[in-house]
Amino acid sequence: MNQDRQSTYSFPSWVDDLKPLLAAVGLGLPVVLVLLFWYGASPATTAVGYAPPQPVPYSHALHAGQLGIDCRYCHDTVEVAAHAAIPATQTCMNCHTNIRAGSAKLALVRESNVTGMPVPWVRVHDLADYVYFNHSAHVRRGVGCVECHGRVDKMEVVHQTQPLSMGWCLDCHRNPDAHLRPPELVTQMDWQPPAQMTRAAYGRQIREKYNLNPSEDCSTCHR
C-alpha cells in the first residue's frame, strides 16, 4: 500500500471526451436490451409467420380458395365444440377416391386410409397449454375464421398471421365491433360490410342484436 504516487495510472486526456458517449451507452444499453427482448421474444415475432411443413402438401389456396370448399366441410365440429376438428382421412378420400386418385402427393393419405394410422399433421396455431380456446363460442357469435387465421384461402402452406397472444385476444374482447359479422357468414373470407358502413359500425349492430358481451375474466380462458 505504499506505492509511489507517480506510478498511479492516469487516463489520457482524450478519454474525457468519451465520457458522454460512455454514459449514453451505459444508460441506453439496458433500454436497447429490454426493447430487443421485448420485440424478439414477443409472439408477434416468434409466432407470426410460423409455417411448418406438413406431411401432405395440402393447399388451402386450392381447396378453400379456387374450389371454394367451405371451411366447415373439413373442420366440421367448429360450431359445436372447442376444437375445430382436423378432418379424418375419410374426408379427403370422399373426393380423392375419384379425383387425382393416383397422385404421389396423396400417397400418405391413401396409406392412412388403408392402414387406419393417422396422418401426422403439424399444429400451426398452437396456444399455450394453460389456455382454453373454444371455437364454437366464437364462430356462433360472428367472429369470422379470417379474424384469427388470416386469408387461409390464399395460403399454399398455412402459416400463422396473428400473434395469438393474450394482449391480442384481449384487444378484441375489449373492442369486438370491428371483428364481428353475421354469424352465418363466418367462413366467408372476403366478407365486407355494406358499402356505406364501417366494420366497426356494422359490428356494433351485430353485437347489440346478439347481446354479445365478451368476457375479460381470467376464468374465461384459464382453468
Binding site: A81, A88, Q90, Y132, C218
Partner: protein, 1007 residues
C-alpha cells in the same frame, strides 16, 4: 404430548390429542404461516444449496427464447359417426369388488378414460362412488402393472413370453387334465359376481369334473351368510333399506364404507338427517374401532369387539323382559338370550337402545358387521323378525351361489390338498393369496411347491413371484365383462380402452382353460346375455344394457322361515370374556386406502388421509388413549410390539380417541413387498399375524418398543383458527355448529346466532355486481359421513399431484378439498364431526388483496380464480387465507410421470408447474362445459346442470352447487335455510360456500 388433563372436558371439539391438551407444538403450528416445515428446506448443506441455486439459474436461462415443441395433430383415419374430437364422452360400466358391483359412468376424452363417476341408474351407486372405486382409474394407468407374460423357473424376474408360447406350454397339460377328469387341477379365484365368469366356471366343471374352483376373499363377509344359514337353514343375503329405518343399531358394522351396499345405505340414511319435517333417524353404534358409521351415529358405545355379541344379547334380554315375543321358530332362543343377563359386561345405555328399538317396531334395523360370528348375525335376524323390522327396513333375498363353500373352509381345503400333493396344476385368477391368505395355512410355501402354477394378475406381485407363469390380467376398464350388484342388479362391463399391456380378462382365461382355445371376451359376455335377454329383439335389448350399464331388476325379496335348534350357538356367545391386563384384542380391519392390499400402489388412495386417523402412507396400531398411557406410548409413531402365539410384529402406534379400551386395530393390506414404486415398504404387513382361527380377532400382548416412526398424519395440518379473535375455547364450535333435533325444533336458526356477524353494509374493496350467474355451494354437515370420496373426485378431476410421504409429513399435501375431522367431548369415548373444507370463493377474498401480481382475482360470476401463468409463488395468498385451502407446488410434482401415467390427466385442466399456487376453482372447467353449449343454443342453464366433481360423487348428497341468482335453485334454498351459516363470515370474507349446521338426534333429547 403432555399428559391429558382428566378435567379437559371443557373443550367440546378438538382435532387431536395434542390440540386438546394444548400442546405447544400444536399452538406453534396454528400460529404459523404454513404447516410445520412446509416452508423450510430440510437442512440443506451449503453444497446442496449451491447446487439447487445453480440449477435454478440454468433452468431459468433455458426456458426463454424458444418456441415450444412441435405438436402433431393425429385425426382418425375414419372418424366414428357423431364423434366430436376433444369432447367428454361417458360410458356405463360396473366395478366388481369382493363379489359385489357398483355401477359406474366413466368419462373419456379421445379414448382416454380420465374420470370415474357413479351410474345414477344403478341402485348400488345411485350416481355416487367411493374413493376406492375412483382409485381404480389410477390403478389402470399404473406403470408398475404387469407388462407382459413371464415364465419363471425358480426365483428371479422370469423370461418374457407371448400368449402363443403360453398356449404351447399349456395345451398338453390341459389335455392331460381333461383325460384324467381334472383331478389335479385347482383354480383359486377371488370372488366375482360376473354371470359370464360363473358360466365359465360351470363349463370348467363339466370339462374337468374333479377339478376344484376355490374362492378366497381376505375381507370375507361369510359370517352374515353363515348367520342366515343358521337362522333359516340356507344362505341368504340380507338387505337394509335405511330409508325405512328410524332406529338403526350398528354392531361393529360400518354400513357406509365397509358394506357392499354402502353407497345406497349412505344415500338413504342421509335423506333422513335433515330434520326439516321433524323426522330424523337415530343411529346407535356399538363397536371397538371407530368406523364411519360410528362417527355418524347419534350414540356410540366403544366396546371390545368380542363383547359386541354380549351387548346384543343384553339388548335382546331387555326387550324380552319388556314383552317382546320371538317369532315362530325362534322360541328356543329365549333361554339362550336370558344367559346374557348374568354376563359381567353391562352398560346402562343398552337399556335405552332396547327401549328405542321397541318404540320403533317395524321402523328399525339391527346390523351386525362381518367381523362378528355367525350366531350374532342370526340373533340379530331373529330380533329384527320379532320387532317387525323384517319386511320393512330388513329384507332377504336368495344367495346367488348357495352351493359355494365358505371362503375360509375353501382355502383351508386347498392348503391341505397342496400339502398332500394332490395338486398338479394351480391356476390363480386375480387376488393375491400368497400375501393375504391366513398365515398358518402357509400358502406361499405350498404354492411354491406346485410345479405347474399359472397366475393371472394385474401386478407381478407376491403371488406371481411364486408361480411359474405370470399372465397379465386385463383391468376391468380394458375388457368386456359383467357384474351383479349386492342387490342382484346385473350390468355389463364395457372396455374404455384397449388393454395397455396386452392383458386378458379372467373370463377369457377361464374360457380358455375350459375350451383350449381363445374366445374374445365380447363373444363370451354376449353369449351369457343372450340367455338373459329375450331372443326377440336381442340386439336392441343388448345395446340398451350396454348403454345404460344395467339390466333393471334386483333379486326378488323373500320371506324366510326360521329353522329350529340354533339356541346353543347363541348361548355360546354369552361365554365371551372381557380382556384386560396386558392381554388385548387385536382386530384386523379393511384399510380405507389400500382395501385388502390391492391398491397399495395407487398414489391417490395411499395419500388420502384415513377418515379417522388422517394417516397417509402408513397403517398403525390404533390404541385408545388410556391403553397408550398404560403402555407408555407418548406420541403418535412410538413403536409397539405385538406378540401372538404365532409370531410378533413391531409397528408404530396411533392414539385414536374412541378406540375401545383393551382393543387394538390394525389395518390390513399394508407393507407390500412387490406392489410397485408407491406401495413397496409403505406401512406394516399385518397378515402374518392373521390365522384361520383368528381371521378378524386375536389375543395379543402389547409392549412398548424403543424408537418411533415418522407417521404422516394430516390431522393437525391446515388448522383453521380464529386465534386472537375469540378465546380459543370456542374456536371449533364456531366452525362446526352442532345442535340436537330438539334444539333445532325450538330454534331453527340456532347456528346463525352462534356467532355475531356485523350486518352493516358489507365492505368490499372490489364492489362487483353479480348480475349473471352467481355460483355458490352449500355443504350439509348433517349428512356428511366423512368418507373423502370428494377428495379423490377432486384429485382426479383437477390433476392434483401425489406428493409422497415425506412431503405430506411436511404439510405439503395437495388435495384441494380436505375433510377436517374433529373429536368431541371425552377422549375415551368422543363423538366425531367432519367438515369438508375447500376454497370458499370469498366475495371479499383476503387472498386477492395481497397478491402482488394479480394472479388471484375475482371474475364476474364470483369465482375467486387462480391464474397459474401469472403466479410467481410468493405464497402471500396462502398466508392470508383464513380457511387454509390454498396449495403450493413446492416441486415439479409431475416430473416422474411416464407416458402411460400421464394419460390419466384431465385435458380440461392445466397441469401446474413448480412454484405455482393452486386451489379449488369450483370446477370452472365444468361450468364452462355447460355454459358455452347453453349459450350456443341460446338457452338458460337449468339448476343441477353444473355439478362440480365433489358434489357429483357425494353418496350423501351433502354438497349442493348452483346459481345463487336463480331463485329456484337448490343451493339458493339451502343458503336461505335456517341451519345455514358461513364459516368465519364475521371477518367479512363473504364466503360463497356455506354450511348447514350439523344436527344430531340423541335419545335424551327425545320429548
Amino acid at each position: 404430548m403432555p399428559p391429558l388433563d382428566p378435567k379437559s372436558g371443557g373443550r367440546a371439539l378438538w382435532r387431536s390429542l395434542d390440540d386438546l391438551a394444548g400442546d405447544k407444538a400444536f399452538q406453534d403450528a396454528v400460529g404459523r404461516e404454513f404447516p410445520l416445515y412446509a416452508d423450510e428446506m430440510l437442512a440443506p448443506s451449503r453444497r446442496e444449496f449451491l447446487m439447487l441455486m445453480g440449477a435454478s439459474v440454468a433452468l431459468a436461462g433455458m426456458t426463454a427464447c424458444r418456441r415450444w415443441p412441435v405438436e402433431n395433430i393425429v385425426p382418425f383415419s375414419h372418424r366414428p359417426e357423431g364423434y366430436v374430437p376433444g369432447e367428454r364422452l361417458q360410458f356405463a360400466t360396473s366395478y366388481d369388488r369382493n363379489g359385489a358391483a357398483i355401477g359406474l359412468l366413466v368419462s373419456s376424452f379421445d379414448g382416454r378414460p380420465i374420470k370415474i363417476e357413479g351410474n345414477p341408474l344403478h341402485p348400488m351407486s345411485l350416481g355416487a362412488t367411493d374413493p376406492i372405486a375412483q382409485g381404480t382409474l389410477l390403478q389402470m394407468y399404473d406403470p408398475d402393472r404387469s407388462t407382459g407374460l413371464f415364465e419363471r423357473a425358480g426365483q428371479g424376474e422370469g423370461t418374457p413370453r407371448t400368449w402363443d408360447e403360453f398356449a404351447v406350454w399349456a395345451e398338453p397339460i390341459l389335455a392331460r387334465h381333461k383325460a384324467s377328469g381334472g383331478a389335479g387341477l385347482r383354480i383359486l379365484a377371488e370372488p366375482s359376481s360376473s354371470p359370464t365368469l360363473l358360466a365359465q366356471k360351470k363349463r370348467l366343471e363339466s370339462v374337468y369334473p374333479q377339478a376344484v374352483w376355490v374362492e378366497w376373499d381376505p375381507l370375507t363377509r361369510d359370517a352374515e351368510r353363515e348367520g342366515a344359514r343358521l337362522a333359516f337353514g340356507r344362505p341368504l343375503r340380507r338387505h337394509l333399506d335405511l330409508g325405512k329405518a328410524d332406529v338403526v343399531l350398528a354392531l361393529d358394522a360400518d354400513l357406509f364404507m365397509d358394506d357392499p351396499a354402502g353407497l345406497s345405505h349412505t344415500r338413504a340414511w342421509a335423506r333422513r338427517r335433515k330434520g326439516e319435517d321433524g323426522v330424523m333417524n337415530r343411529v346407535w353404534a356399538v363397536e371397538a374401532g371407530y368406523s364411519l358409521t360410528g362417527a355418524s351415529a347419534d350414540h356410540r358405545i366403544p366396546v371390545q369387539s368380542a363383547l359386541v355379541p354380549v351387548a346384543l344379547g343384553r339388548i335382546a334380554a331387555r326387550m324380552l323382559r319388556s314383552g317382546l315375543t320371538l317369532s315362530a321358530g325362534c322360541e328356543g332362543l329365549r333361554e339362550a338370550i336370558e344367559r346374557f343377563e348374568s354376563h359381567a359386561f353391562d352398560d346402562p345405555r343398552l337399556d335405552t337402545i332396547a327401549a328405542d328399538l321397541l318404540a320403533a317396531r317395524g321402523r328399525g334395523a339391527i346390523a351386525v358387521g362381518p367381523r362378528q360370528p355367525a350366531a350374532a348375525h342370526a340373533l340379530a335376524m331373529a330380533l329384527d323378525a320379532a320387532l317387525g323390522n323384517s319386511g320393512n327396513a330388513v329384507t332377504y333375498a336368495d344367495d346367488p351361489e348357495p352351493a359355494r363353500p365358505g371362503h375360509l373352509e375353501a382355502i383351508a381345503k386347498l392348503a391341505s390338498d397342496l400339502s398332500a400333493g394332490l395338486v398338479e396344476t394351480l391356476v390363480i385368477l386375480g387376488g393375491n393369496p400368497a400375501f393375504d391368505a391366513p398365515a398358518d395355512l402357509d400358502l406361499a410355501k405350498r404354492i411354491g411347491s406346485v410345479s405347474q402354477t399359472i397366475r393371472v394378475g394385474l401386478y407381478d406381485d407376491e403371488t406371481s413371484s411364486l408361480c411359474r407363469w405370470q399372465l397379465p390380467e386385463a383391468h376391468y376398464l380394458e375388457a368386456w365383462g359383467d357384474a351383479r350388484g349386492w342387490d342382484g342388479t346385473a350390468g355389463v362391463v364395457q372396455p374404455l380402452i384397449e388393454p395397455l399391456y396386452g392383458g386378458r380378462s379372467a373370463i377369457e382365461i377361464a374360457a380358455y382353460l375350459a375350451a383350449g382355445a381363445w374366445t374374445p371376451g365380447y363373444e363370451l359376455v354376449r353369449t351369457t346375455w343372450s340367455t338373459r335377454l329375450p331372443a326377440a329383439g336381442f340386439e336392441k335389448a343388448w345395446r340398451r344394457v350396454v348403454h345404460d350399464g344395467i339390466e333393471a331388476g334386483a333379486a326378488p325379496a323373500l320371506t324366510p322361515v326360521f329353522a329350529a335348534g340354533w339356541g346353543g350357538e347363541v348361548a355360546r356367545l354369552a361365554e365371551a370374556r372381557q380382556l384386560g391386563g396386558d392381554a388385548m384384542e387385536l382386530l384386523f380391519a379393511k384399510s380405507s386406502a389400500v382395501h385388502d392390499g390391492r391398491f397399495a400402489n395407487c398414489g391417490w388412495l395411499v395419500e388420502l388421509p384415513d377418515p379417522m386417523t388422517k394417516l397417509t402412507w402408513d397403517n398403525a396400531a390404533l390404541l385408545s388413549p388410556s391403553d397408550a398411557e398404560a403402555l407408555g406410548v407418548k406420541a403418535i409413531g412410538d413403536l409397539v410390539t405385538m406378540s401372538l402365539p404365532g409370531g410378533s410384529l413391531v409397528l408404530p402406534a396411533f392414539i385414536l380417541p374412541g378406540q375401545a379400551k383393551g382393543s387394538v386395530t390394525v389395518n390390513l393390506g399394508w407393507g407390500r413387498s412387490r406392489a410397485g414404486r408407491v406401495g413397496n415398504g409403505a406401512g406394516v404387513d399385518a397378515y402374518p399375524l392373521r390365522t384361520a382361527a383368528s381371521l378378524w380377532r386375536a389375543e395379543a400382548k402389547l409392549a412398548r418398543t424403543p424408537g418411533s416412526a415418522m407417521l404422516a398424519t394430516t390431522q393437525d395440518h391446515w388448522v383453521v383458527d380464529t386465534l386472537g379473535r375469540k378465546e380459543e375455547q370456542v374456536r371449533a364450535e364456531e366452525l362446526i355448529r352442532t345442535g340436537t333435533l330438539a334444539e333445532y325444533r325450538a330454534k331453527p336458526e340456532f347456528a346463525r346466532e352462534m356467532v355475531e356477524v356485523p350486518h352493516a353494509a358489507p365492505i368490499s374493496t372490489y364492489p362487483i355486481e353479480y348480475n349473471g350467474h352467481k355460483w355458490g355451494m352449500a355443504i350439509d354437515l348433517s349428512s356428511c359421513i366423512g368418507c373423502a370420496a370428494c377428495s379423490i373426485a377432486c384429485q382426479a378431476e383437477n390433476n392434483i399431484p401425489v406428493v409422497g410421504r415425506k412431503e405430506t409429513w411436511r404439510g405439503r399435501d395437495m388435495q384441494w378439498i380436505r375433510v377436517d375431522r374433529y373429536f368431541e367431548g371425552d377422549p375415551e369415548s368422543p363423538g366425531l364431526a367432519f367438515q369438508p373444507m375447500t376454497c370458499h370463493q370469498c366475495e371479499n377474498a383476503p387472498c386477492e388483496q395481497v397478491c402482488p401480481v394479480a394472479a388471484t382475482v375475482h371474475d364476474h360470476e364470483g369465482l375467486n380464480v387462480m391464474v397459474y401463468n401469472r403466479c410467481v409463488g410468493t405464497r402471500y395468498c396462502s398466508n392470508n387465507c383464513p380457511y387454509k385451502v390454498r396449495r403450493f407446488n413446492y416441486f415439479n410434482n409431475h416430473k416422474h410421470e411416464t407416458a402411460v401415467s400421464m394419460m390419466v390427466y384431465n385435458p380440461e385442466v392445466t397441469v401446474r408447474m413448480r412454484g405455482v399456487m393452486e386451489k379449488c376453482s369450483y370446477c370452472v372447467q365444468r361450468i364452462n362445459a355447460v355454459k358455452i353449449p347453453a349459450k350456443n343454443a341460446g338457452r338458460p342453464i337449468s339448476d343441477g346442470e353444473v355439478v362440480p366433481a365433489c358434489a357429483q360423487v357425494c353418496p350423501a348428497e351433502a354438497i349442493a352447487f348452483g346459481d345463487l341468482n336463480d331463485p329456484h335453485s337448490r343451493v339458493r334454498a339451502l343458503h336461505d335455510d335456517a341451519r345455514c351459516y358461513g364459516v368465519l363470515e364475521e371477518i367479512n370474507t363473504r364466503p360463497r360456500t356455506r354450511y348447514l349446521a350439523r344436527l344430531r338426534n340423541p335419545a335424551e333429547g327425545k320429548a
